[in-house]
């Protein structure tokens, strides 16, 4: 009985959407993320080409420490999971729980940035030392910029979800869903970056 009402309701909503404008914002965002991913792809291609055709002087080669970036990877992967929980909580109309998960996700993002900062300060090379160092900072910095923007987005979503009359409710999940898709994208990029920059 319940399921029947639900289907009825959803089909009517669909009709309604068609009459105004169907909501294609997630599709648009996904297309934008493809474009954004291509920027990273360009950077990765440049980095790999440098590695292949521009051998550095032996004394300019540094081994990257692995523990901190591994911790960073774990932080981001966990944050993806917590964000997912936040979305689930919102869909179940549990606003308080959703806010808690959002705050945890944002803290994980901030922890990632802090840890990245620590790594920057301890690295034995600077931005202009050699082309390898420059590409390293360009890639991690560009990704860090994405994490910063994502964290700000999460905090905005959290802020908007605090009041039941706010913009983020179980009836309007788009802001949260959009931020979540973006966050997963940024995490995915990090995994690729981690493999290419640190493991290869």
């Amino acid at each position: 009985m319940t399921t029947l009402t639900q289907t009825e309701q959803s089909s009517t909503t669909e009709d309604l959407q068609q009459e105004e404008h169907a909501d294609h914002r997630m599709f648009g965002l996904a297309t934008f993320l493809v474009a954004d991913g291509m920027t990273f792809a360009g950077f990765f291609a440049a980095y790999l080409t440098y590695k292949a055709v521009n051998p550095l002087l032996p004394d300019a080669i540094y081994e990257l420490e692995l523990p901190l970036p591994t911790l960073n990877t774990i932080l981001l992967l966990v944050s993806s999971a917590t964000f997912h929980r936040a979305g689930k909580a919102l869909n179940n109309n549990e606003a308080k729980l959703c806010q808690r998960w959002l705050l945890i996700t944002a803290s994980l993002g901030i922890a990632f940035l802090a840890s990245q900062m620590v790594e920057y300060f301890t690295l034995p090379f600077g931005l202009t030392d050699n082309v390898y160092a420059s590409t390293f900072y360009a890639l991690t910095g560009f990704h860090g910029l994405h994490v910063t923007l994502g964290t700000i987005m999460i905090l905005i979503v959290w802020w908007q979800s605090r009041s039941p009359n706010g913009r983020v409710t179980s009836k309007n999940t788009f802001p949260l869903e959009a931020a979540e898709l973006y966050w997963h994208f940024v995490d995915g990029i990090w995994v690729i970056l981690f493999i290419i920059l640190y493991l290869l």
């Binding site: 009402t5 009825e8 309701q9 009517t12 909503t13 009709d15 309604l16 068609q18 009459e19 105004e20 169907a22 294609h24 914002r25 599709f27 648009g28 297309t31 934008f32 493809v34 474009a35 954004d36 991913g37 291509m38 920027t39 990273f40 792809a41 360009g42 950077f43 291609a45 440049a46 080409t49 440098y50 055709v53 521009n54 550095l56 931005l127 202009t128 050699n130 082309v131 420059s134 590409t135 360009a138 560009f142």
Partner: protein, 554 residues
């Protein structure tokens, strides 16, 4: 279960839209207004870029740099290239006609993201002003539209950085537009309209938008790295600091070769709309046309290094890119023969729109043949960086895209304004443009084959006579703008009233009033499943365009 229907949206939307002439200067969300904003803004930049081109041709009438200093020549040349590509052709073939026509073609009332659409347009005027202002601040960039390092790193930094900023803004605008077109074509089609029933311009724009979304971000990233090289003295592209200038070329051409298709694929689409209407025949080979567009999109991504045959490219790469580039001639040739077959045996009305389209076909074949020649390594090495390349490129983008833009203006002006353009002036405009264009650029093939390098203010005196012929051609091209401008301004007020469908066309933008109302059709959107159903009796045409099924509240 009852659901309360929200109050009539139409009223609130109309309340948001400014009325009268002022809307063309406002942040309007109407796709038709945005399309015309793109068109007029682009044309103003065309006039500026054209003035710069005239300055270049005046300088080149004599073998010494007497009209302007050498570094000024470099700045003028860079501004000319950048303005014509990023502010005129790309915004107009994509933004202007795409915004105006695509919602009609898919049976929608607006683009998928109207606000993003307006943002995409309003990035363009500031970017253009920024670019032009750099000339007056500290001298514009001098490294050409390609901005190759180390030239771009060693030339004065201020102009180059403003150039980078401007191109980044324009790239952002282009990406936003591309996202919007993909979403509109794939998601906003009215119910009952299949992909393979869409007018060809939709396919061209879909392919172009895929190219835009996948390749423009790479250029953006590259330019950011280049700006690091200039500001922070990193060494990405600076061999003196261990970098690699060839990597810049690879990344740059990964965008800029597809950029050629971004400029010319929409033009293919527009021609495919114009020719069937005026020859009263269906578009020949619709399906092959669709596949050849997609083949060009696919191949467009794997041919970039044919711009770099002299950049120390290894032999295997030369071989691969020669073969891949030659392959592009196949889908392009299919399209060419399809247009000819569309015209073949048709009842052609030889008006300005058709003349410009035919001019396009002729010029494009010539540009295409030199393109295939340039793809061959031995020949390319001989003519690389000579006027042969300049001639080839202008045959593609001027003889190709710009001819189609003019053709499209003659074709859609009645829809834009409700009035017809003057035909005699239009034919005069065509004659001047066609003669001027060929007189200007055809001799440059000869100059290039004989070794005159491009992008230099001075040249060997033996080339003087041919350069003067070319400059006379440029003068005729510049003059050809005058009858056009007069025609456009005069006809906007005094032209004969066009009526809704002066060409008796079948595509959906003609099945409404001219100019169309804000919501595109007063009633429901018509379902046009055979946009090229010409050459049959009127009754069957009416059948093909029945507006049986309503979009709203079925």
């Amino acid at each position: 279960m009852t659901i309360s229907i929200p109050p009539d949206k139409k009223e609130s939307i109309e309340g948001l839209q400014p009325k009268g002439w002022f809307r063309y200067f406002s942040f309007s969300l109407d796709h038709k207004v945005i399309g015309l904003q793109y068109l007029v803004c682009g044309f103003i930049f065309y006039l500026i870029g054209g003035a710069l081109a005239s300055a270049i041709r005046i300088e080149l009438t004599s073998p010494i740099s007497d009209f302007m200093a050498r570094d000024i020549y470099n700045q003028i040349l860079t501004l000319h290239g950048t303005i014509m590509i990023f502010l005129w052709i790309v915004p107009v073939v994509n933004g202007a006609f795409g915004n105006y026509l695509i919602p009609f073609y898919v049976g929608a009332r607006d683009m998928a993201f109207p606000r993003l659409n307006a943002i995409a347009f309003w990035l363009i005027p500031p970017a253009g002003l920024l670019l032009i202002s750099s000339y007056f601040i500290n001298g514009a960039a001098q490294s050409g539209w390609t901005a190759y390092p180390p030239l771009s790193i060693t030339s004065p930094a201020a102009g180059q950085l403003i150039w980078i900023l401007s191109v980044l803004l324009l790239g952002g605008s282009s990406i936003f537009g591309g996202i919007n077109f993909i979403a509109t074509i794939l998601k906003l089609r009215r119910p009952g309209l299949k992909l393979m029933q869409l007018p060809m311009y939709c396919w061209a724009m879909l392919g172009t938008s895929i190219l835009v979304v996948l390749s423009t971000p790479v250029l953006a990233g590259t330019l950011i790295l280049l700006s690091f090289d200039i500001i922070a003295h990193t060494g990405f592209f600076n061999p003196a600091l261990g970098g690699n200038a060839v990597i810049y070329q690879h990344l740059f051409w990964f965008y800029s070769h597809p950029a050629v298709y971004i400029m010319v694929l929409p033009a293919f689409g527009l021609v495919s709309e114009i020719l069937p209407v005026h020859s009263r025949k269906p578009l020949f080979g619709y399906t092959t046309m669709v596949y050849s567009i997609m083949a060009i999109v696919l191949l467009g991504f794997v041919v970039w290094a044919h711009h770099m045959f002299t950049s120390g490219t290894p032999p295997w790469m030369r071989l691969f890119f020669t073969i891949a580039t030659s392959f592009i001639a196949v889908p392009t040739g299919i399209k060419f023969f399809n247009w000819v077959a569309t015209l073949w045996g048709g009842r052609i009305s030889l008006n300005s729109a058709v003349l410009f389209s035919c001019g396009f076909i002729v010029n494009f074949v010539l540009g295409g043949i030199t393109g295939v020649a340039l793809a061959q390594v031995p020949f390319d090495i001989h003519v690389h960086d000579t006027y042969f390349v300049v001639a080839h490129f202008h045959y593609i983008v001027y003889g190709g895209s710009v001819f189609v833009i003019f053709s499209s203006i003659y074709h859609w002006y009645p829809k834009f304004t409700g009035r017809m353009l003057n035909e005699s002036l239009g034919k005069f405009h065509f004659a001047l443009t066609f003669i001027g264009f060929n007189l200007c650029f055809a001799p440059q093939h000869w100059l290039g084959l004989n070794g005159m390098p491009r992008r230099v203010a001075e040249y060997d005196p033996q080339f003087t006579f041919i350069n003067q012929i070319s400059s006379i051609g440029a003068l005729i091209m510049a003059l050809s703008t005058l009858p056009f401008l007069w025609n456009v301004f005069h006809s906007a007020f005094k032209g004969t009233i066009a009526g809704d469908n002066p060409w008796l066309a079948l595509t959906p933008e003609w099945l409404t009033s001219s100019p169309p109302p804000v919501e595109n059709w007063e009633g429901p959107a018509p379902l046009v499943t055979k946009p090229y159903g010409y050459g049959k009796s009127t009754a069957s045409i009416n059948k093909a365009t029945t507006s049986s099924k309503e979009v709203e509240g079925s």
